[in-house]
């Protein structure tokens, strides 16, 4: 009975079936802004392909971001409701941490032990967090989750450590020109190097044990990092009643 992992923090929706030790199947779809329309058909297809039904899923793991708000909400709403309907446990796992694990994996053999996953936060900013490798398959955070301009990220990183830092992710690729000015950063950019968020790392990171727990399910929410900005047009209309 496999677990189902879902990550919709970026334009790529990532899904995987398996558990900590075995990966059954994985798929990634370029969903753009259409996660709502594309995610469940992709899950259904992946299950079908492996002669499984959704009722065979024994646990759900959701990538909690940070990333695009709408993408995260579709993935996490889907994960929460699947767990609720199937009465299986739901786990949340940070997207930056999963990305860090993927980046380290693709640099196996290297002595570098610092990794900086970077996710596009739009509006000229990125989400990033510095991690240090811990053993063969874990990372520990060396910084807070940051939401800042890529140039400010460079300044912060140079203050953190003097060794090489492996970096990647859709935010690192979007601002590669800026990040490549640093000699400290080693930017990974081939597709299977973990630059796209991959759900496999969510599966590998979570130790699935207990059964369905409603309060646990209700506690899984997106990691927004940014405060909601009150939509200016709507608010303006409400505050200035004579406008419009």
């Amino acid at each position: 009975m496999p677990a189902l992992a879902i990550d919709t923090a970026t334009e790529v929706a990532a899904i995987a079936l398996g558990d900590r030790d075995t990966l059954l199947a994985e798929s990634r779809i370029s969903a753009g802004r259409s996660h709502l329309e594309l995610l469940l058909p992709a899950v259904h297809e992946l299950l079908n392909h492996n002669n499984l039904a959704i009722q065979d899923v024994s646990a759900v793991v959701a990538g909690t971001g940070p990333g695009t708000f709408s993408g995260l909400r579709v993935g996490i709403s889907t994960a929460r409701a699947l767990a609720q309907a199937l009465k299986v446990p739901l786990y949340g796992f940070g997207t930056l941490e999963a990305l860090a694990l993927g980046l380290l994996r693709s640099k196996r053999g290297s002595n570098d032990c610092l990794v900086l996953p970077v996710i596009d936060a739009r509006r000229g900013q990125v989400f990033a967090r510095l991690y240090r490798k811990e053993g063969e398959s874990a990372v520990v955070p060396e910084s807070d989750v940051l939401c800042l301009d890529p140039a400010d990220l460079l300044k912060q990183i140079s203050g953190f450590a003097n060794g090489k830092v492996i970096t990647g992710g859709n935010g690192a690729l979007a601002y590669r020109k800026i990040l490549q000015t640093s000699r400290q950063l080693d930017l990974l950019d081939s597709d299977d190097s973990g630059n796209q968020v991959c759900a496999v790392w969510h599966l590998r990171a979570v130790n699935i044990e207990n059964g369905y727990d409603e309060s646990q399910m209700l506690s899984i929410v997106p990691e927004y990092v940014r405060e909601p900005d009150a939509d200016k047009t709507v608010l303006l209309r409400m505050r200035e009643p004579w406008l419009k």
């Binding site: 469940l40 709403s77 994960a79 929460r80």
Partner: protein, 333 residues
């Protein structure tokens, strides 16, 4: 057994319907969170829906005294509404349906307001003309039979409830001010100021509330504060009367134009005392039957969404897995 889910604006709702019987209808209002801003903030609404929706569903199931797996059909609002808010409801509904292996119906929120009239305690049958007036929408629609809707009139600018809330705000009342305006107006004389009734022409069934709102703004701007303090209730009553008169006049004209003698209403504004009074008086005078659902079925709720799903065709698995949501979409003319 149908589970309805509604998250199009700022209320998170779930309901269970068994046949035409409402086993439960849970509404979790977010008004207090938005009151701070004086309006619904879409991003805040979306965040709250995600946090609340599963618990609201669990509560609806528990109150109904059933199990989630006795549900045979899921109904969900797919349009119109705040897109981020709709996304949460649709993703949740599809996943619950998929997990349970049951069929799903996507429902137009406006049609849901009409379908609230089919529910107990006093279910009605078409043909009727239905006025739907709330903070988000204002439409008059002719319903010849279940599932068929002919749009006769709609607002060209603000919704009626929005106009009442904004008027309340100009009069220094809180948010959402419609209810407070209603209370204040009860002690006032509606003839104290003559505010314009929007698009008040024979045969014109559309609404416009920007004129009356602007008129109130300029009236108050040039008003002696002493008179304002003395006559606040009169001004409130006059303003409210202009908005309500437009609703009632056009609804009755719509009924006349379709030779229909039954009038139904829906939407939050149907709680308004003046609307109820004037509609009742006019319907009586013109020999029309008036039907007003209980307040909890007039404001946004999920029982009305489940009610619409009783007669709408359902999508089977796996067809609904790709279902999306759209911000726009009311009735077609």
């Amino acid at each position: 057994m149908i589970l309805g889910i509604e998250t199009s604006c700022d209320d998170t709702c779930a309901a269970v319907l068994h046949g035409n019987e409402i086993l439960s209808s849970v509404i979790s209002s977010q008004t207090e969170f938005h009151a701070l801003y004086g309006g619904v903030v879409p991003e805040i609404a979306s965040r709250h829906h995600l946090e609340l929706v599963n618990a609201v569903i669990a509560q609806a199931i528990a109150k109904a005294g059933v199990e989630l797996n006795s549900i045979t059909r899921i109904a969900v609002t797919t349009r119109p509404g705040l897109i981020g808010a709709l996304l949460v409801g649709v993703a949740t509904a599809k996943s619950i349906a998929y997990g349970l292996g049951v069929e799903l119906v996507g429902v137009n929120h406006m049609e849901g307001h009409v379908a609230a009239n089919y529910l107990p305690p006093e279910p009605v049958e078409p043909p009727f003309v239905c006025l739907i007036a709330s903070g988000g929408h204002t439409s008059v629609v002719f319903v010849p039979q279940r599932g068929e809707h002919k749009l006769l009139g709609q607002t060209l600018d603000d919704a009626a409830g929005e106009a009442l809330d904004k008027g309340a705000r100009l009069l220094g009342l809180g948010y959402p001010g419609g209810a407070e305006l209603d209370t204040l107006a009860a002690d006032g004389a509606p003839g104290y100021v003559t505010f314009p009734v929007g698009l008040d022409k024979p045969g014109r069934l559309d609404f416009s509330f920007s004129g009356v709102k602007t008129a109130l703004y300029y009236y108050l701007r040039d008003l002696d504060p002493k008179i304002f303090n003395e006559h606040r209730a009169d001004i409130a009553a006059s303003y409210q009367s202009a908005v309500i008169t437009a609703l009632v006049k056009k609804t009755l004209a719509a009924a006349a134009s379709t030779r229909c003698d039954q009038i139904c209403i829906g939407g939050g504004v149907s709680a308004n005392t003046e609307l109820r009074r004037l509609l009742a008086t006019e319907c009586e005078r013109q020999g029309m039957r008036l039907h007003i659902p209980p307040p909890t079925l007039c404001t946004d709720n999920a029982a009305m969404i489940a009610s619409a799903a009783r007669y709408l065709p359902a999508k089977p698995l796996p067809d609904y897995l790709s279902l999306g949501a759209t911000a726009s979409g009311g009735f077609a003319a």
